[in-house]
């Protein structure tokens, strides 16, 4: 009797597991189809292939994916990006162009470099910027120690990206060079809603800031057309001694898109890194943000804003691994969740014995705007060093009735008052972005969202 009862559920389990295995195998197959000729790239790809094969497709039974249900992705069969890539005109991407970075931008369409849209004339000669396939020959040796060498590369989606590594956006800022002009790395996906196939797009970015250099970087994911696609991006940033990188990451993928992105940063002694991560697009998105310290006295500032509505799921998993003394980290992550959306935040901070005199602060604040909105948050501190200052906090709430009332008492109607408060909540993060035009665009977007103008540009 018990056999009869248990066998169907067991077989259902095993078919689900099989389905995931088949899906992952297919992903790997699609990924590996992207062309490459370089033997060292091939070596990297083969190594990553083995890593993917060792793993299984994550489920909510895995602690790391407990609240992030990937079943929607699992039901979407993926194909490789069509070749040749659709050609876009400069007008078509005009809404994404930042006036401050007009002549310092690299544009990738569906993960492939678009030379006719890119322009880097504003940048100093010394800087190496471009795409991997054209630079590999000349600067290949300079890049080899960095590409796909960040810790955490074994994570399944990161490894998957590496298995299809054929091209990447590259930025190398040489010793002592400080660039004032922001560098805009724009990744456009074109997916019309009539397309029957869902493409796997795997953008890749490598940034190296050598000793005493400084750069401002905007990594921007956007879409033309409202079709479905899967953006699986990986960004590796290496910051050498006393160098400084200000990184803004904007994820405004299409409404039906899937986005899983990794940002892995290694910081050497006395380096400074700032990340402003804005996540507002995609039906299902996840951002892995990993900071590795390779020297002492580093400064790390992470600001994040997740803006969700409709049925969106937005996940941020950050990990700060401190391994040297005197590190300072400041993290602020805010989520605004409307409709039936679901936000997830997991922020890990590791302070082992070696990381004495660490000063780490983390705050996660969540604003729930509707009765069906949901949030799962887990700030996590693991500390062994005793001479440290570590704090973390998390709050979940709605708009304060008192605050709304205060504004009402001054003649502002309820909806305007609410909008103003939501805007203020978001602006604390948006205000950290160094580029004025981007700040404006994002601020407008927050306002449109809070006014309920759901069709506003994304």
């Amino acid at each position: 009797m018990s056999l009869q009862v248990s066998s169907p559920s067991e077989s259902a389990l095993s078919t689900a597991a099989e389905k995931r295995a088949i899906y992952l195998a297919n992903l790997l197959d699609v990924s590996k189809r992207s062309p490459t000729t370089s033997p060292w790239l091939k070596e990297l790809r083969d190594h990553a292939t083995v890593r993917v094969q060792e793993q299984t497709f994550p489920t909510t039974r895995d602690e790391e994916w407990r609240f992030t249900d990937l079943s929607a992705l699992l039901q979407t069969p993926l194909v490789a990006v069509e070749q040749p890539v659709v050609s876009l005109s400069l007008e078509a991407i005009a809404p994404f162009i930042l006036p401050e970075a007009k002549a310092s931008q690299l544009v990738f369409v569906n993960g492939k470099y678009a030379p006719h849209l890119s322009c880097v004339t504003d940048l100093p000669e010394a800087i190496v910027i471009g795409n991997l396939s054209t630079l590999a020959g000349t600067d290949g040796e300079r890049l080899r120690p960095y590409l796909a060498q960040q810790p955490g590369a074994e994570e399944v989606f990161t490894a998957l990206n590496t298995t299809g590594l054929s091209d990447a956006a590259l930025v190398l800022v040489p010793k002592g060079v400080a660039i004032d002009t922001p560098i805009h790395l724009l990744f456009i996906a074109t997916a019309s809603n009539t397309a029957s196939n869902t493409a796997l797009i795997q953008p890749r970015v490598l940034v190296v800031a050598e000793t005493n250099s400084a750069a401002t970087l905007i990594e921007d994911y956007g879409a033309i057309g409202s079709g479905t696609y899967f953006n699986n991006s990986v960004t590796e940033i290496w910051i050498a001694e006393n160098a400084q990188v200000n990184h803004t990451r904007v994820q405004r993928d299409g409404h039906h898109a899937f986005h899983i992105g990794k940002t892995a940063v290694s910081q050497a002694r006395t380096s400074r890194y700032t990340c402003n991560a804005m996540s507002m697009g995609a039906q299902l998105s996840r951002h892995h943000l990993e900071i590795y310290q390779t020297g002492e006295q580093t400064e790390t500032t992470l600001n994040g804003l997740t803006l969700l509505h409709g049925d969106q799921i937005g996940d941020t998993h950050s990990a700060i691994a401190l391994t040297h003394p005197h590190g300072t980290t400041r993290q602020l992550h805010k989520c605004i969740i409307d409709d039936r959306a679901h936000a997830i935040f997991n922020g890990k901070v590791f302070v082992p014995k070696a990381a004495q005199l660490t000063d780490a602060g983390q705050l996660n604040r969540n604003l729930l705007l509707s009765s069906k909105a949901r949030v799962d948050t887990k700030p996590q501190l693991e500390i062994v060093a005793d001479n440290v200052k570590c704090t973390h906090g998390a709050t979940v709430g709605q708009l304060e009735a008192d605050e709304v009332f205060y504004l009402q008492s001054r003649g502002i109607d309820v909806s305007d008052a609410r909008q103003l408060l939501v805007y203020a909540f978001a602006f604390e993060v948006i205000d950290q972005i160094a580029i004025a035009s981007l700040r404006r665009t994002l601020a407008e977007l927050v306002q449109c969202r809070s006014m309920g103008l759901r069709k506003a540009k994304i």
Partner: protein, 478 residues
Amino acid sequence: MTTTVTSLVNQPYKYGFVTDIESDVIPRGLSEDVVRLISSKKNEPEFMLEFRLKAYRQWLKMAEPNWAEVGYPAIDYQNIIYYSAPKQKEKLNSLEEVDPTLLETFEKLGISLSEQKRLSNVAVDAIFDSVSVATTFREKLAKDGVIFCSISEAMREYPELVQKYLGSVVPVGDNYFAALNSAVFSDGSFVYIPKGTKCPMELSTYFRINNGDSGQFERTLIVAEAGSSVSYLEGCTAPMFDTNQLHAAVVELVALDDAEIKYSTVQNWYAGDKDGKGGIYNFVTKRGLCQGVNSKISWTQVETGSAITWKYPSCVLVGDNSVGEFYSVALTNNCQQADTGTKMVHIGKNTRSTIISKGISAGRSENSYRGLVKIGPKADGARNYSQCDSMLIGDNAGANTFPYIQVQNHTAKVEHEASTSKIGEDQLFFFAQRGVSSEDAISMMISGFCKDVFNQLPMEFAVEADRLLSLKLEGSVG
């Protein structure tokens, strides 16, 4: 902050003696026959045997959890004695008939069971290995209709109450250790407070493990009827053995409309020696159900003992306006490992919960706070405030926090904050300037750090807990 704190910790464990007493012990190992044997030894009603067997069969299908931040060699469940009771006369009529060796043991532990010396206004149920040996003040309590006895007696005398509530908060298959406990539990305390009654005295249970090879599986059930209130305290100690003993208890609390239960624990099981040899594995499931409107359950725990602690006293807030509280001090030293915290599950409207957790880690110990605050979709106006602070003494100890916050209602308000600190040289210097020795200074700072929690303990035990902590920490800073 050097030699003084180190010498503080190395204080010997004064409860580490073994009582030489003849015991009724069943063979090692666990099987369906053992479960039946335990049940028959205790003359249990039929429904209890079914309850145990159901739990046992569930347990067989379950796997030991491995998610906690603790490490220990695999437990051989077939090498544990599941029932050990001091041999005694058939039925006890009064305390005079209790084996004097036992009375002496409890006397030594500072728990006087004899009429004249006992703590006034505290009724005690003393549990030795697998059975309850004495319960004081029973008659006085009975005058108010309060039932306070061992759970074995309750099963025989109040089967309908036990049947109704046992397993209603922690179901037999709740988790691996709860299932094991449900199958083999031997004794524990049962408290029933009738409608509208304020329990006239503090109730308390004292647990003592004596046999080096037996596990202790006790079960506590407290039911507070509408409008009643009770304060309950448990204490525990064990002798020093080189082997590890398993202690897997289940505590269930049920609070009906307007009822209030305050449950305090001072846990001082043997923690193992300084190299981590021996000590108790304390794998405990504690859960309170605020079933009625305006009910309140408050957990206060001072965790200083055990080699490993795995314990999450929880509140399920079903009734509207119900309140859950959790106050905890967890101290780990040497090689102790603690993964403890709470769960606050908000289901009813306007439910409120407060979590105050203080972790102190010294030596090479690991101290984790793991908590869950879950606000269900119907818990309108729910409110939670959590604060967990860690103090690290020495740079080989670990302090981790794993707070899970899950909110599905937008009218809820949840706040969580955590901090980590150490006793600063400047603070010690400040004390030294004023002529306070560093030992006293540390002890003062620690009691200040834990004040929020100690304030929740009944008076006598707050003093006891304070002393316990300074004893435990003696010499740990160095």
